[in-house]
């Protein structure tokens, strides 16, 4: 139903572009979103909306301009198209800027939309979030307040059409829940955060698990002290590990490579990481959040090994940067740039507990703050919190320190990968250990 509506809007935009003498692709997104927040025993936020948007990228003689609008009236579309065509006149002509040669879709069943989620009753969602808030508040006596518990979901229809005749649509669902309890002890407060997401309701981590983890994160670091400055092994817990892998994505993003913004430029074929570093981008995993039948330009998604046992095999491309760097698109066009499908580090065989137990002295990182990674140089630096590891056991909680290192050295020094990979986002990772990093504290 929505797919048809979205395809019609996309087709109208494509026709207008064709009439203006341009090649174009039009993407329409129609999303129904629901969000509710519970605090203590009441609902403190209830939001629900249907939103739609149109993005058009047009090409005239290799000159590229894009437009976005939520005004789908004929006049609105015509006005937007004129502005974009006018912009083309001052853009440099670039023979590489054109639609993909071949479009298509991955034809397997990707299980993107969960009917149980799409049809879920609002009252059930409200009961759900109130239960989560109650569970987290009763999880520990030091938790007497919260910054709120959340449940949200969305059903999003995406349609893509272009002047070469491609026209396809798909619908995906997603649900998220999270909680942020505030614990208080010895005159200090700490907020714990834990959130999770899935395409299908049955795959979403339950309220009990979310409450338990959020509560544990709020209380477990009480009494944390600043550690000494040292060089030791560092274990990244899986959520933080995922943020490291996300940073790495920026370095394999061909758009960054092409403009000199990646420390991995010129390194394809080289051994960059340790034997344990196998990283994949895969848009074809059924039921996963980063899956879709085709990318933002209508190129079928696929499975692309990016690192194999430490060797950098390829960057990730859209059509333009593939042409620019002499490769083929890997189906990673997204929102006018390059984005991930499911991008993940392959899991190892040992448990996280075993990884910790095999660490004589080190640091277990549970939270980081800050977001600066210098992608041109590959320097990693974050504020962090976690635990000291002594004789294979988590001992004292620590905070107000930083972890820093060089990305190339970090990847080469990964000497342990756990088996706790979980697809609760598009970029995910199991926990892993880096043999040595600098901890800055006292």
């Amino acid at each position: 139903m929505r797919e048809r509506e979205a395809l019609e809007i996309a087709a109208a935009a494509v026709d207008l572009a064709r009439a203006a003498g341009a090649h174009a692709e039009a993407t329409v997104s129609i999303a129904r979103r629901f969000h509710t927040e519970a605090r203590d025993t009441t609902i403190s936020k209830l939001e629900q909306s249907i939103g739609s948007s149109l993005h058009v990228r047009l090409y005239r003689d290799g000159r590229r301009a894009s437009l976005s609008t939520s005004d789908f009236s004929r006049e609105g579309l015509e006005r937007a198209m004129r502005a974009a065509v006018d912009q083309c006149a001052v853009v440099a002509s670039d023979p590489l800027a054109a639609l993909p040669e071949v479009c298509g879709a991955f034809e397997g069943d990707l299980a993107l939309c969960d009917d149980a989620l799409a049809q879920r009753d609002d009252a059930a969602k409200i009961d759900d979030v109130l239960q989560l808030e109650q569970l987290v508040r009763s999880a520990d006596e030091r938790i007497r307040n919260s910054s709120g518990s959340h449940y949200s979901d969305a059903v999003v229809t995406t349609a893509l059409a272009n002047t070469a005749g491609f026209a396809r649509a798909y619908t995906g669902s997603r649900a998220m829940r999270s909680s942020a309890p505030v614990a208080e002890a010895h005159g200090t407060k700490r907020v714990g955060h834990y959130g999770t997401a899935a395409r299908a309701l049955r795959d979403l981590e339950g309220n009990e698990a979310v409450a338990a983890l959020a509560a544990r994160r709020a209380v477990e670091l009480f009494g944390a002290k600043k550690p000494a400055t040292m060089r030791v092994p560092v274990i990244f817990e899986r959520d933080i590990a995922a943020s490291v892998i996300d940073d790495l994505f920026a370095a394999v993003n061909a758009a960054n490579v092409a403009v000199g913004n990646s420390w991995l430029a010129q390194r394809v074929g080289e051994r960059v990481g340790s034997e344990l570093v196998s990283i994949v981008d895969d848009g074809t995993l059924p039921g996963k959040l980063g899956s879709s039948p085709f990318d933002g330009e209508g190129v079928p998604t696929r499975r692309t090994p990016v690192f194999e046992r430490g060797v950098l095999k390829t960057f990730l491309f859209d059509t333009y940067y593939a042409r620019k760097l002499g490769a083929a698109s890997t189906g990673n066009s997204s929102g006018g740039g390059i984005g991930s499908n499911n991008f993940y580090l392959e899991p190892g065989t040992s448990t996280l507990e075993a990884l910790i137990a095999s660490t004589q002295r080190g640091v277990f990182v549970l939270e980081t703050i800050g977001f600066a990674t210098e992608h041109a140089t590959g320097t990693y630096s974050r504020g962090a919190r976690g635990f000291l590891i002594e004789n294979g056991e988590l001992t004292a909680p620590i905070d107000e320190f930083t972890i820093a290192g060089d990305f190339a050295e970090m990847l080469a020094a990964i000497d342990g990968v756990a088996n706790d990979l979980r697809f609760d986002g598009a970029v995910v990772s199991p926990s892993f250990r880096v043999a040595e990093m600098t901890i800055s504290g006292n």
Binding site: S49, L67, S70, D71, A84, R190, S381
Partner: protein, 465 residues
């Protein structure tokens, strides 16, 4: 975009079950932008975003819905969805809303409604590109972008407030990448504000590009930052991110009403060295964070957050102000009509002190000179923060020496503010390019600070201090 009769109808529908308050945020944003890469104009972008957000407030709860389809039918559906937060109430009384125009301060060039000719944007980008490339042969890539945006908002509230604000915003950003053998480094500089392209007549793209190229070249020669505790000198202007993270977020009223912030219930208490005074200002002409009226229709204001080390007050939006029994400070802001407003900072800065930069650097035996920050983040409940240094140097025996590579600073807000031991007389606002993220919403902000000395901070480098 909508007439007052429509606002009236929507508010009545939104309050059909009752509720304390309802408002409508109607927005139209038009964007016009170009991007330069590889020495030529790579792509043009235009955009029109328009829609209406409707909110119903009951106690501390808010119902919200938006529509980007402006037909009356869809707007009424949104009003009904927003009203559901109050569904257990007995029902509202039918009434009309007599709208009174809220006067709007003249903080920006309010008459400009069209973008300039495409060639003017392109010329600015090409000048930046040429300057950065000519600066040093080791500059191997330049990426530049310019955007010109006009946001019109119309706000109507059930208390009769009606206001229209017309907000321009231009931004020019230049990134230079320097390379030598396998070493690479980059520098980024941005500027602009709630003004027009004419701003770049006096703040030229050459000046920005030179600075971006200089930072890239400096960072190419940089040495790894030391690790451990040392003194820190925060640079004037761009160092203001320190105030935004270390103190500002903790003084937003949502965290304080909920008792989540470490500053909750501490107005009147000493929270910093007596050298520390911090303002947040919503009505500095042309600054990125300025709002003639905020996104709830309340005029932007000058707020004293900390005065001589004593906490004076929080930044309030309407909802939290009502619940705390005070007035909104014009701090209710939102990314777009798709979002509920939150209490946010506008332009956060510290006024000048009495020391000089020379005294401050001269008295530093071994420390880090954080000339500007690329950004930062704070954890609200305990006040731990991090900053990423965009341009930093080592200070040894009172002299600025080697440039440092990508250092991160970690600390604790109240602790760092207590350790402020000198404030210089060179206060200034930073170049205008900062954007603040909170709860998934991004809004433009400004920061400023004089040169400030902090007696001890943890530097997160890789080498022994």
């Amino acid at each position: 975009m909508l007439d007052t009769a429509t606002f009236d109808r929507l508010l009545a529908r939104a309050l059909r079950f009752g509720g304390d308050y309802a408002d409508i945020f109607c927005e139209r944003r038009s964007t016009y932008a170009f991007r330069l890469q590889d020495g030529r104009i790579h792509e043009g972008t235009t955009g029109v975003t328009q829609g209406v957000g409707i909110r119903v407030v009951v106690g501390e709860a808010a119902g919200y819905a938006y529509a980007d389809d402006l037909s009356l039918e869809k707007l009424l559906e949104a009003a009904e969805a927003a009203s559901l937060i109050a569904r257990s109430l007995p029902g509202g009384e039918a009434r009309a809303f007599d709208f009174t125009n809220v006067p709007v301060q003249a903080l920006y060039d309010e008459h400009r409604s069209e973008h300039a000719h495409a060639s003017r944007y392109v010329a600015l980008l090409e000048r930046a590109d040429a300057t950065a490339r000519a600066y040093d042969p080791r500059i191997v890539a330049v990426n530049a972008s310019i955007s010109d945006e006009i946001q019109d908002v119309w706000i109507a509230a059930s208390d009769g407030r009606y206001v229209h604000d017309h907000r321009p915003m231009v931004t020019l950003g230049v990134q230079a990448v320097a390379a030598h053998e396998r070493e690479r480094a980059s520098g980024y500089v941005g500027d602009g504000g709630r003004t027009s392209l004419d701003y770049f007549d006096s703040h030229s793209p050459e000046e920005l590009a030179t600075d971006a190229a200089r930072i890239a070249r400096t960072n190419l020669d940089a040495v790894p930052a030391p690790a451990g505790e040392m003194e820190m000198v925060v640079g004037a202007g761009g160092g203001g991110v320190l105030l935004h993270e270390a103190v500002g977020h903790g003084l937003e009223s949502d965290f304080n009403r909920r008792g989540v912030s470490l500053y909750s219930g501490r107005v009147g208490e000493r929270v910093a060295s007596e050298l520390v005074t911090i303002y947040d200002d919503g009505n500095l002409p042309e600054e990125r964070g300025s709002v003639a009226v905020d996104d709830e229709g309340v005029p932007g204001q000058h707020k004293v957050l900390v005065e001589n080390g004593v906490l004076r007050g929080y930044m309030q939006d309407t909802l939290n102000a009502r619940l705390m029994g005070v007035q909104s400070t014009g701090s209710g802001r939102r990314q777009s009509f798709r979002f509920l407003p939150q209490p946010r900072m506008c332009n956060t800065y510290m006024p000048p002190g009495e020391s000089t930069v020379e005294e401050i650097i001269g008295s530093t035996k071994r420390g880090i000179y954080a000339k500007s920050f690329a950004g930062g983040q704070v954890e609200i409940s305990k006040g731990d923060f991090v900053f990423m240094i965009a341009e930093g140097y080592l200070i040894e025996n009172g002299r600025v020496t080697a440039p440092l590579k990508n250092a991160t600073i970690v600390g604790n807000g109240p602790d760092a503010m207590t350790k402020v031991t000198a404030v210089a007389n060179d206060a200034r606002l930073a170049r205008r390019h900062y954007t603040c993220g909170k709860g998934g919403q991004h809004v433009p902000v400004g920061v400023g600070i004089p040169t400030v000395k902090i007696s001890s901070i943890t530097v997160g480098g890789t080498h022994d201090a």
